[in-house]
Symmetry: C2
Subunit: 206 residues, 2 copies
DNA sequence: CCAGATGCTATAGCACCGTTAAAGCTATAT
DNA sequence: ATATAGCTTTAACGGTGCTATAGCATCTGG
């Protein structure tokens, strides 16, 4: 009987430790950048010692994965919120715009994602986010409006494009990126991969 | 008089050391990958000790930059060889295909480029390669066939796309990349950014 | 021909990194 | 009260990029 309460207490304490470590890691990454992050600095900052962090997260990649997963889960929520229209092309564009905006707003996290990818890891939420493209792309393919042999290639091409845009933008912030870049890029990829809907009975045009 | 010969001898020896170090570095990177490369391993492999390498290259980033620069200079030569046609769109596609092929054939070097970019460095030859896109893009813009406000945005968009394609492909080799990916991707970016030439007097069509 | 300057190389060490074995400690369960 | 389980710490290992210092040739000016 008293076991459940104590277990709850334990788990709460455990969760507290995890969260305060993750919070410190988040702050450290945002503050000193990807390269300025180290387990030792994190230990010094969050008040726990190194083995404690390792006890809770096991590994540096796993800790970063948890960090990225938390942030990318917000992106997933935004993305599922986008899918509401009856025009798959519009949905897709909304999703892509959301991802690009997310990447531009969280450059450190996206650089972290690039590093993780290079080491062979990918936070589940990032994979989920990418998988969400499948829905509108599948719809476009069903309507014969996709210039790609199948869904997977469509997803790969579009995700590659978005990834390159964000990754280059976040890693080379010193270049003078034209403010019209995002629109031009989105117009480009949509114009190239999506066959614009043929003449139809006029729908609502804003 | 004897000075010039001795100077030449010195420079030759200096060049020999540099080249043998670079050769070992090249082999090491190709063999053990980006993460398996370290200055100490390089020292053990090339026969020279650490301070010697640092004497010749000063820095790890600078050494890698020299390594990348050598390889990317080959790409530049291929690219300048492409620019010969009278159809700027064809030229651009040839260049992009060459870059993608180069990236897929040299995954370690491209991953190295990604790392360098993230640290804020870029080998001159890579910059040159990117700059070579300007010529056909400028031509397309002059003909009113470019869906971009200016050349710079066009270059940024196209380079982002290519970069994302190669970077994702080289860092996640385990994914099952459809063989038709490259063609689909090139068709996509060209179809989106380049306005296909309007009806004209029929030219040679292969 | 010889002293001195020049430049390449090696020894040894710095501070940092990710990671972990071993022991200590505290709070719960019996 | 004792044992058990889990969180935390001390201390260390091997690795990293990098460098101050010294040794060693070689070439140069006298």
């Amino acid at each position: 009987m008293s076991m459940s309460t104590s277990n709850a207490r334990r788990e709460r304490q455990r969760g507290e430790a995890r969260r305060s470590i993750l919070d410190a890691a988040e702050a450290l990454v945002v503050e000193r950048g990807v390269e300025g992050f180290s387990m030792r600095r994190l230990a010094a900052r969050c008040g726990y010692t190194l083995p404690t962090i390792y006890h809770h997260f096991g590994d540096k990649p796993r800790l970063l994965e948890a960090l990225l997963d938390a942030r990318f889960r917000e992106l997933v929520e935004v993305l599922v919120g986008v899918t509401a229209s009856d025009d798959a092309s519009r949905d897709l564009r909304g999703m892509l715009a959301a991802v690009v905006e997310f990447g531009f707003d969280n450059p450190s996290h996206y650089q972290l994602l690039v590093s993780a990818l290079q080491e062979g890891n990918e936070p589940p939420a990032a994979e989920e986010a990418r998988a969400l493209f499948e829905a509108p792309i599948l719809a476009l393919l069903a309507d014969g409006r996709l210039r790609a042999p199948d869904v997977e290639v469509g997803v790969q091409v579009i995700w590659s494009f978005i990834h390159g845009l964000i990754s280059l933008r976040t890693s080379r912030a010193d270049w003078d990126w034209h403010p019209q870049l995002i629109d031009t890029a989105l117009d480009g990829i949509l114009g190239g991969v999506v066959i614009q809907s043929p003449a139809r009975p006029a729908e609502i045009r804003s």
